[in-house]
């Protein structure tokens, strides 16, 4: 591996390779299709595009190594796998036998290569198919199948995807330097990579001691819980104010059992939905966080106590703290920026002519209306190193900014893009509220000689804040729980240690990453319990403030 890395670095220093730290395979393909690179290590998924662009390509066979043998790459196979818990073993077996017949494999390969188009998207592994006319007659297909002949099938094990999690990050650091731009020692990084992969494989195979729940433990825990609840209830009773007086403005009915029953009946659907989809997952997450549920032991996992929390608070504490700080910063900045921009626009559009304002409003509402999944991808494409934004900047003679690859820039980009999504919401709200503010306020201020900006910041904004404070809080919480950022940056430029949160990883995106990429669901559950505690405390506190502010 070290030799390979050194060779590529040598080519890189001679300027013979593409340099794009964020390049994906589609970039490579595009460069080849444009005729800008002479050779790529890639597949034939875009063969028709190369042809249409006039590229005459060929496939080189696998190289012979120093030991005189042809290398044996790992190949991912389109295999057929039986689930050992299947209900109908016989049917599954007969299906397998059917699909593995030579003529059916032939059909599959031909369909996968889109019939006569022979695109090369699927390489046969079945010998009779390899020897068939369909493959032999086509130079490209036959070279491909020869290569396939020498491949080693990628093992179908749960540990399989682990190396995906870290390799590209490590290689990126080796070829392009770490997040601060410093050179990274290749050997060190490769060792770190190997260690990390081994550690994760070990973790995923670890069978920690299952703690047997003894009756006494359960009793102690139940007593503790009961005591806690009793304490809370008593505390609230002691500090409760006298709320028995019914204010004269009270226009709803008094307490009555009939009413209570009706009310609860009407509320049943909502409560049911909330209980199932909000309350249960909270407890379920708490439960999962004390188990070792992960991708490997989907069926036989057990309670392991606080191991996950221990792991979070020892090795992950740095990451957790920085993520937490960043998430709060992110949410706060997004809400602030979108609120101020939205309100400013509302104020401005108020003053401009009505028809013009209407047109502008229609345009400005767009980010809110279109499904964000799509526009996030577009933004990602635009912010790449050769993306639209940098191209426009280059028209002005400004060097390309590493919007998504540099730590600080990526954070700024994520804030700006997410504000772009949220400002229409505030623009609309502020616009409506502005209409209800008496114009006299502004008249008085202007007569007293206040400048526009002063009016805006010292009068308009505070008034609107007071009116929609709960919404600001809700918006903050929404941004705290924002998932869309993941589609934009995938967690941002990766952290310095492999597996630690990236620069733009919010708590949620990191949890999601842990859960679905490293398949360690119990760890993700532990993180989400912690995240929930943060958010719950915050919500309660802000609700108290909100209630106090409005009366």
């Amino acid at each position: 591996m070290l030799a390979y890395v050194e060779k590529i670095k040598e080519l890189q220093s001679k300027g013979l390779t593409l340099t794009n730290p964020n390049a994906t395979e589609s970039h490579i393909s595009a460069e080849f299709a444009n005729g800008r690179v002479a050779m790529i290590l890639y597949g034939l998924w875009n063969a028709s595009i190369y042809k249409s662009m006039g590229i005459e390509y060929g496939i080189s066979p696998l190289p012979v190594g120093k030991n005189g043998k042809v290398s044996k790459p790992l190949a991912t196979v389109q295999g057929f796998v039986i689930n050992r818990f299947t209900n109908d073993l016989d049917a599954t077996k007969s299906f397998l036998e059917f699909i593995l017949k030579d003529e059916n494999q032939q059909r599959l390969i031909e369909a996968g290569n889109r019939g006569d188009r022979k695109t090369g998207e699927r390489n046969p592994a079945n010998i009779s198919v390899i020897n068939s006319k369909y493959i032999e007659e086509d130079t490209v297909l036959s070279s491909l199948s020869n290569i396939g002949f020498n491949c080693e099938p990628f093992p179908n094990v749960p540990e399989g995807p682990i190396w995906y999690n870290y390799t590209s990050t490590a290689l990126r650091a080796i070829f392009y330097g770490d997040t601060a731009g410093n050179e990274v020692d290749a050997q060190e990084k490769l060792l770190e990579l190997a260690e990390r992969i081994r550690a994760d494989v070990a973790l995923i195979n670890e069978i920690p001691e299952k703690i047997d729940i003894q009756a006494s433990h359960v009793l102690i825990f139940a007593a503790f819980l009961a005591g806690l609840i009793a304490a809370v209830v008593l505390l609230r009773k002691a500090t409760k104010r006298n709320t028995s007086q019914i204010s004269p403005l009270d226009r709803t009915e008094k307490l009555g059992t009939k009413n209570t029953m009706i009310a609860w009946a009407m509320l049943l659907p909502l409560l049911l939905l909330l209980l199932v989809f909000y309350v249960f997952p909270i407890f379920h997450n708490i439960y999962l966080s004390v188990t070792n549920y992960s991708g490997v032991n989907l069926r036989d996992y057990g309670i392991v106590g606080l191991t996950n929390y221990r792991e979070i608070f020892t090795s992950g504490i740095g990451g957790l703290a920085s993520m937490f700080v960043w998430t709060i910063t992110f949410a706060f900045m997004v809400v602030t920026i979108s609120f101020i921009v939205g309100t400013a626009l509302a104020v401005t559009l108020d003053k401009v002519g009505i028809r013009v304002a209407k047109v502008y409003k229609l345009i400005f509402i767009l980010p809110w209306v279109v499904p964000s999944v799509i526009t996030l991808l577009m933004w990602r494409g635009m912010l790449e190193d050769q993306g639209l934004v940098n191209q426009i900047l280059s028209l002005f003679g400004i060097n390309s900014v590493p919007w998504l690859s540099h730590c600080l820039a990526a954070r700024a980009s994520s804030i700006i893009v997410m504000s772009w999504f949220s400002f229409p919401y505030f623009m609309v709200i502020s616009s409506s509220i502005l209409k209800s503010i008496p114009k006299d306020y502004f008249e008085v201020a202007r007569i007293a000689g206040a400048g526009r900006l002063y009016i805006f910041f010292k009068i308009t904004i505070p008034l609107i804040i007071r009116a929609i404070f709960p919404m600001l809080v809700m918006s903050f919480i929404m941004q705290f729980n924002q998932f869309g950022v993941y589609l934009l940056t995938q967690g941002g430029p990766p952290g310095s240690r492999l597996g630690s949160p990236g620069a733009t990883d919010l708590l949620i995106t990191y949890v999601f990453n842990t859960a679905f990429n490293t398949k360690r669901y119990s760890l993700a559950a532990a993180y989400s319990v912690i995240a929930f505690c943060f958010v719950a405390v915050f919500a309660v506190v802000s609700l108290r403030i909100a209630n106090r502010k409005s009366y």
Binding site: A30, G43, L270, L377, A467
Partner: protein, 277 residues
């Protein structure tokens, strides 16, 4: 002097507005442009050399786009109906009936939304697994209704609060029972809010991606729009961005049509019941 200043000020304002409008519109313009381009396999380079409408037809022949669109519309419509029912009942109860534990329950509803649904994906997956609702649109409808209702109860209650209770009282004196009051008096008066709830829940269900991607994974035909579109990009190598963008454009059209024709209800709903004038 003052007039010149005012002129310059106004031009400046228009200039800034224009720039902001351009910034706002650029990503959409980009999407449309790519959808008309030929064989765009890369979003970073300005790859669009020829314009063609090919991609739109390829969208329907090569992918399951029509299924996805219908699924999403179905999902959104049923979610809308369900949410309207749930929210109307709940908001009515919270607003007009004084019962044991009213404020506590309301605060509970508000607070519980703080927990992000994305974190409960594993739990929801297991619930659906146990109930046999995986990969079925019904399950997704229920989750989206929960999500939408939780968020909309607050503003709905605010609006119901503004409907005078005297009407209810008058009806009760005349001998109507609660149910009649609800259906024949309160709900008709709350039409604007019902419209808002309907539209907002429709939008939420249509745009939702995180839960849908966890729950609907098996059959390509069963996926809603957002998941289907993403599946074009995730799995296989060799993404064809032009077809994806064509899908994106067509997929956004229902939202745009809905929004621009019912603007009033979209915008109205945000401020109903929240303005403390």
């Amino acid at each position: 002097m003052y007039n010149v200043k005012k002129r310059v000020g106004r031009i400046l304002v228009h200039f800034i507005l224009l720039i902001l409008a351009v910034v706002t519109i650029i990503p959409f313009f980009f999407v449309v442009l790519i959808s008309l381009g030929k064989n765009v396999i890369d979003t970073s380079v300005f790859f669009v050399k020829e314009l063609t409408l090919d991609n739109y037809s390829r969208l329907f022949t090569e992918t399951r786009f029509s299924n996805w669109l219908i699924n999403s519309l179905l999902l959104a419509t049923v979610t809308m109906i369900l949410s309207v029912i749930v929210v109307s009942l709940s908001a009515c109860a919270f607003s007009r009936l004084r019962f044991q534990g009213r404020t506590k329950l309301f605060n509970f509803v508000l607070l519980i939304q703080v927990f992000p649904l994305t974190l409960s994906m594993v739990s929801i997956f297991r619930i659906f697994l146990a109930l046999g609702l995986l990969n079925k649109i019904e399950g997704l409808i229920i989750v989206d209704s929960a999500f939408a209702s939780a968020g909309l109860v607050l503003i709905a209650k605010g609006y119901f609060d503004t409907i005078p209770y005297s009407l209810d009282e008058a009806a009760m004196i005349d001998g109507a029972n609660r149910f009649r009051i609800l259906t024949q008096i309160t709900l008709p008066l709350a039409k604007p809010m019902i419209a808002v709830v309907a539209i907002q829940s429709f939008v939420i269900a249509y745009n939702e991606y995180a839960i849908a991607s966890t729950v609907m994974t098996q059959k390509l035909e069963a996926m809603p729009l957002a998941v289907g579109l993403q599946s074009m990009i995730e799995g296989q190598f060799g993404i064809n961005w032009s077809v994806y963008c064509a899908g994106a454009v067509l997929g956004s059209i229902p939202m745009l049509v809905l929004f621009y024709s019912l603007q009033k209800y979209f915008i109205g709903g945000l401020t109903e019941g929240s303005v403390k004038a």
